[in-house]
């Protein structure tokens, strides 16, 4: 009973919560917060139940499957399921949303309108969860697009001074990719025997002619690469992050970016194995360019949030490099990297938001001496910076190093020499990562406070922040020490996928 309803619950509970919120009278702010918190907690509880009942012995099969007719005219079905690849991301998504609600408890961004803000957040969660469990292209697409709108409003309404531009850029950029993506979906529908069902397409995809595959992959690539975002489609990201409210940035970095990489792993690679092989060198190349390029972008930044945004470009480069190798190491590393990046960068954005709230600025040249004024906050920033630069023993390492490792020996059929060059470039990228993160830390935390803030009374980390951050911090540490917590889940699914890939590609 639970098993067949679990996914529907986890996807639509937030939507129901959003509807409830709309019914709450405008004055009853506390009630709104409670409704939102209760909804997200209930969703998270369902998520935990899924985690608990998940059969870890069979991570490569879809579990909690629902498969009902939905739109008969186009053979689109209400098909949902989780396997080892989507499970960690689903868990990440339900966790982050709860924490975002907790974090916003006392400080909603201006213009203060908690009802709309929380409702958008819940709708966003529906979209994110739905994307991770959808097993039908149309269903996937609907959820994938559903995410756009709340985020657009979040940036456009609650954002910084340049919010209009950023919001529209974000929206149009992604929509442009989606347009090509839906074209590719339609092509898959017709080439794959009139079905949108992902598992079915995975079975049939290999039979599509190679040239057609390559074209279709191009459409998918545009849709997903913009979302990731990969160089050179990344320019919406710094703007969106800089302007978005803290919570928006967190969700954007922690979950939304993963929709793109998840799309590659779930749809593009398994359905179109030949094309994946043909595209992999290019993807890998763009990925390593992104690593170096994102790092250089970071080094040039003066704005804390913008710096973290550029670091996302670099980190997602590692994820994409892992995917491009088409090996189980690489894709395991990619999934781990997605989760780790979600935790770490989400956390960094939280901290950047809190710094902005306290100082009213994100200009690093005006900051300094955070370790003196708010030592705990500064320690957390240091911890996350270390995690972000891939210190072994913290979560970031397990996304980064295995990706580098996997590039040494990519899947058969890919050029080893080329990928080894990528490996070296990516490894050099780790130095750059250390560079921009530590410079950032030096400028914000070390030294003494600048004159304008010398007398300021800066509040150290307070309770809602602790509550919102503690799970992330613990997870960063725990996953860093016990990477098997994620590898155990992903490994089976990834192995069955790559072996299928190699059976066709090799």
């Amino acid at each position: 009973m639970f098993d067949s309803w679990a996914l529907t619950l986890v996807v639509f509970l937030p939507a129901v919560g959003a509807a409830l919120l709309v019914a709450v009278p405008r004055r009853a702010e506390n009630l709104m917060k409670l409704v939102a918190l209760a909804t997200t907690l209930a969703t998270a509880a369902v998520g935990v139940a899924i985690l608990a009942r998940f059969d870890y012995g069979a991570t490569d099969t879809l579990q909690f499957e629902v498969d009902r007719p939905w739109i008969d005219v186009i053979n689109s079905r209400y098909h949902m399921g989780v396997d080892g690849i989507s499970l960690p991301l689903l868990a990440l998504s339900v966790l982050i949303t709860v924490l975002c609600v907790v974090y916003s408890w006392d400080h909603f961004p201006e213009p203060h309108n908690p009802k709309a803000f929380l409702a958008l957040m819940l709708v966003l969660e529906t979209g994110m969860n739905g994307t991770f469990v959808g097993q039908d292209l149309i269903l996937f697409f609907v959820f994938f697009e559903l995410v756009l709108l709340p985020m657009y409003f979040m940036i456009g309404v609650w954002g910084g001074p340049n919010r209009q531009y950023a919001a529209i850029k974000f929206f149009l950029f992604t929509l442009f990719g989606s347009a090509l993506m839906i074209l590719a979906f339609l092509a898959l529908y017709f080439k794959g025997g009139n079905t949108f069902d992902i598992p079915l397409l995975v079975e049939r995809g290999g039979t599509i002619a190679r040239d057609a595959q390559i074209l279709i992959f191009g459409g998918l690539f545009m849709g997903f690469a913009i979302k990731v975002p990969m160089f050179p489609f990344h320019t919406w990201l710094p703007d969106a992050h800089t302007e978005a409210p803290t919570v928006g940035s967190v969700i954007l970095a922690a979950v939304l970016l993963k929709l793109g990489t998840y799309g590659f792993i779930r749809i593009a690679l398994p359905i179109l194995p030949d094309a994946a092989q043909a595209w992999a060198p290019w993807i890998g190349g763009l990925a390593v360019v992104g690593i170096i390029y994102g790092a250089l972008g970071c080094l040039a930044q003066k704005d804390l949030k913008r710096l973290i945004a550029f670091s996302s470009v670099a980190h997602m480069g590692f994820v994409m490099l892992g995917i491009a190798t088409l090996t189980d190491y690489g894709i395991n590393a990619a999934v781990f990297g997605m989760v780790a990046h979600g935790l770490i960068t989400g956390m960094l954005f939280f901290i950047a938001g809190s710094i902005q709230e306290r100082y009213g600025t994100r200009e690093m040249s005006r900051l300094g001496g955070l370790l003196l004024q708010a030592p705990r906050l500064a320690w957390l920033l240091g911890f996350c910076a270390m995690a972000s630069l891939g210190l072994p023993g913290l979560a970031g390492f397990w996304g980064e190093f295995p990706a580098i490792l996997s590039a040494y020996q990519p899947a058969p059929g890919l050029s080893e020499a080329l990928f080894r060059v990528y490996m070296v470039v990516a490894a050099v990228g780790t130095v750059f990562a250390a560079g921009y993160l530590l410079w950032m830390y030096q400028r914000t935390a070390f030294g003494t406070a600048k004159k304008e803030f010398a007398e300021a009374h800066v509040h150290d980390v307070h309770l809602p922040e602790w509550l919102a951050w503690a799970p992330l911090l613990l997870l960063i540490l725990i996953l860093g020490i016990f990477p098997s917590l994620i590898f155990r889940v992903t490994d089976g699914a990834v192995q069955s996928m790559t072996s299928a890939l190699q059976a066709i590609g090799g």
Binding site: L172, T235, L299, P392, F401, G435, D491
Partner: protein
């Protein structure tokens, strides 16, 4: 205890966590936890050492067991004669390799019957990834036991020293927390049985060095030094990461160090792959162990508290690189063909470092910087030792160096505790009367470093020289001898400037409290006696530490050579004599730098540290941080974003055109035009609507005529 060696690194980790969260509330602000944990770790390390020594030596390793390496069907591998025959055709492909083999087998023959102690390995599954099961665990052998002993001992002494030295520091608690973690990092690394775990410890130390070098981060210089240390080592780590990746695949998808060594020596892996792995690892070693050309961070690291410098230089961090070479010796051995003699990158890097760092030590006025360059130089010795095939000598030097360099740094700390400065020329001098214990111990340390027999430094340095001379590395023998003389001379200068002459500082210096002097005395005692654990004739140290890798590689042993020993110590004494003559007797060419242009130039080159600092800071880092990053960002904002915005602007322009011109004028024009046309047409047509019946009839009739005429015309035609 050997099976449960994981407890030893776990203790300082625990201590780190406890100090971090509860330290401030404790009466001693956390140092009690740190000292207790490290003391306990030290005791356990001693237990390990004792158990190791008592462990029955029952593992037979066939020296030079490289059957796979040679062509199949040559069972006479162990036969020295056959090997010598192989040596005969020098031009042939295998000639070079055969030469090395012949030599080492010939030597190894002496130790043929000597079984070694079997390493104690304990592991648990860490994670599964792909087809690989990665195991975490401890690999305890003689090398690890030695390192655990040294690390915990030095760390304990540094902890004790710090309780007094750092007393009243604003971040006393954090300091001890970081110290604990630092120790833990090194211990994790030395006990690691796989390269990943080794990397964890390695990077943990990088983090801790960052925290401790930048301990007084309020000042920009200190945080710059911390960043520099982290970046520079991290730059080397690129090599380490790549090296681990290469070796992972080369050894058949495993991180296990023993497997990697075996694979590298086994010969199934192509030589190019092993060479690439070794070269990549060497980059990591150069960064971490401050070898030329990445040695520049170490002197700057003096920005940290002095006990930290002692810890970094003596027992952790910088020796990690040397340890890495010793641990993965199989890779370096076969990758660089160390047995072959001549010149190889490891020895070359070490050799260059020995000389350039020793030269730099002469121009420093800061006592800690003299010691820092001395460390760089001594690390060069260790790397060179490993590079010339003198494995035991390298490790042995690591141990003895830990004692006397720890001693010297703590002594420098004691001095600065008294005079509140590190500047030898301005604020020191004549301290031997004020600080007798510090003075005596410091002199012992200096003599040990200078290699004066029978102190510890003499024995280990002698073995390195011996190795270089007997393994076919004459160049490095010369470098080693030259380095010995330089070392002795700059240490003499340092001792003179600090303890002799007139006191130039302010106030009344006085001897430090026992928490500082006791560690000095302990280390001084060790600096005197430590050399005897490997005296010729006994060579217990070699027997305890040598492992399967070293033996199966066929690392050569050489019997004590009085000639080398005599030469080495003579040069050391010569250096001291020169220093004595120059400073005490005022002999020799004083003010040479002002009189001679060449000497002045040389001095300036040394003062500028060969310009490497400027190259790295201004050109490389400044270049990347400045123009390149700005350029990339400009590219991002102007070109890529320009394209995006351009597309946006074009789209908007197009939209405006479509709306203004196409939509408003053409499409809407048609619609409006229809209306306007109808109206105008009506206006014309109503003229015909006169209301007169007869006019209508006329039209009707006219129309009939026209239609009828047409009909008639066309039907009849």
């Amino acid at each position: 205890m050997l099976e449960n060696a994981w407890v030893i690194p776990a203790l300082p980790v625990l201590s780190f966590v406890l100090i971090l969260f509860f330290g401030k509330r404790l009466p001693k602000h956390g140092h009690e936890i740190g000292v207790a944990a490290v003391a306990l770790a030290f005791v356990l390390a001693c237990v390990c050492a004792v158990q190791w020594v008592q462990r029955p030596a029952n593992l037979e390793v066939k020296p030079g067991s490289e059957e796979h390496a040679a062509a199949p069907g040559s069972p006479a591998q162990a036969n020295a004669v056959a090997a010598l025959e192989e040596k005969a055709p020098p031009g042939s492909e295998g000639g070079h390799e055969g030469e090395g083999k012949g030599e080492k087998e010939g030597e190894a023959g002496e130790h043929e019957a000597e079984p070694i102690r079997k390493p104690v390995v304990k592991e648990v599954t860490w994670f599964d990834n792909g087809q690989t099961r990665v195991k975490a665990g401890t690999h305890v052998d003689g090398l690890a036991v030695t390192m655990m002993f040294v690390v915990t001992l030095i760390s304990l002494l540094v902890h004790v020293f710090s309780t007094s030295y750092m007393h009243g520091d604003r971040r006393y608690t954090h300091y001890f927390a970081a110290l604990s973690l630092f120790t833990a990092g090194m211990l994790v690394m030395v006990t690691a049985n796989n390269t990943l775990q080794l990397l964890v410890g390695w990077e943990l130390m990088g983090l801790c060095s960052f925290m401790l070098i930048g301990h007084w981060w309020e000042e920009r210089n200190n945080s710059n030094a911390a960043l520099k240390a982290f970046f520079t080592t991290r730059t080397g780590d690129v090599g380490l990461l790549i090296g681990i990746a290469i070796l992972f695949f080369a050894a058949g998808q495993t991180f296990d160090i023993a497997d990697i060594n075996a694979a590298a020596l086994g010969g199934e892996v192509s030589h190019g792959l092993v060479l690439a792995g070794a070269a990549a690892l060497l980059c990591g070693v150069i960064g971490k162990s401050a070898q030329f050309p990445l040695h520049t961070w170490l002197p700057d690291a003096m920005a940290g508290p002095t006990p930290v410098s002692a810890l970094i230089h003596a027992a952790t961090m910088v020796v990690a690189g040397v340890y890495l070479v010793a641990r993965l010796y199989g890779v370096f051995w076969s990758g660089f063909d160390i047995g072959g003699g001549g010149i190889n990158p490891v020895a070359l890097v070490g050799g260059i470092t020995v000389l350039i760092a020793a030269a730099l030590a002469f121009v420093q006025t800061d006592i800690k910087k003299v010691l820092a360059y001395s460390t760089v130089s001594q690390l060069g010795y260790m790397v060179m030792a490993l590079g010339v095939g003198a494995w035991t000598a390298g490790v042995f030097h690591l141990v003895t160096h830990a004692f006397f360099k720890g001693l010297l740094f703590l002594g420098a700390g004691s001095v600065s505790h008294a005079v509140h400065s590190f500047d030898m020329k301005k604020d020191m001098g004549g301290l031997r009367e004020h600080m007798p214990i510090t003075f005596k111990t410091f002199v012992i340390g200096s003599l040990a470093l200078a290699g004066v027999p029978p102190l510890a430094g003499f024995w280990s340095k002698d073995e390195i020289l011996l190795g270089a001379s007997s393994n076919g590395y004459p160049v490095f023998l010369v470098i080693g001898l030259l380095g010995a003389a330089l070392t002795a001379a700059y240490m003499t200068r340092c001792v003179y400037l600090t303890f002799f002459g007139e006191y130039r500082g302010h106030g009344q210096p006085h001897e430090s409290p026992p928490a500082i002097t006791v560690p000095l005395v302990v280390l001084a005692a060790l600096s005197v006696v430590a050399g005897f654990v490997n005296v010729p004739g006994g060579e217990w140290f070699a027997k305890w530490t040598e492992n399967e890798t070293v033996l199966s590689a066929g690392v050569a042993h050489h019997s004590f050579s009085p000639f080398v020993a005599l030469f080495g110590s003579a040069l050391g004494l010569l250096g001291i004599a020169a220093g004595y003559a120059y400073y005490w007797r005022n002999l020799g060419p004083h003010r040479l730098t002002q009189r001679s242009g060449a000497a002045g130039t040389g001095y300036r080159i040394l003062e500028n540290k060969y310009g490497l600092d400027r190259l790295y800071t201004d050109w490389v880092v400044g270049g990347i941080k400045g123009p390149i990053a700005r350029g990339a960002y400009w590219f991002n904002q102007r070109v890529i974003d320009g394209v995006v915005n351009g597309v946006g602007i074009i789209a908007r322009g197009l939209a405006r055109f479509v709306y203004d011109t196409v939509d408003q004028k053409v499409v809407d024009g048609v619609v409006n035009g229809a209306g306007i046309g109808a109206e105008d047409g009506g206006r014309v047509l109503r003229l015909m609507q006169t209301g007169r019946v007869q006019q209508y009839a006329l039209f009707l009739f006219g129309a009939v005529v026209v239609l009828g005429g047409t009909l008639v015309l066309f039907t009849t035609g």
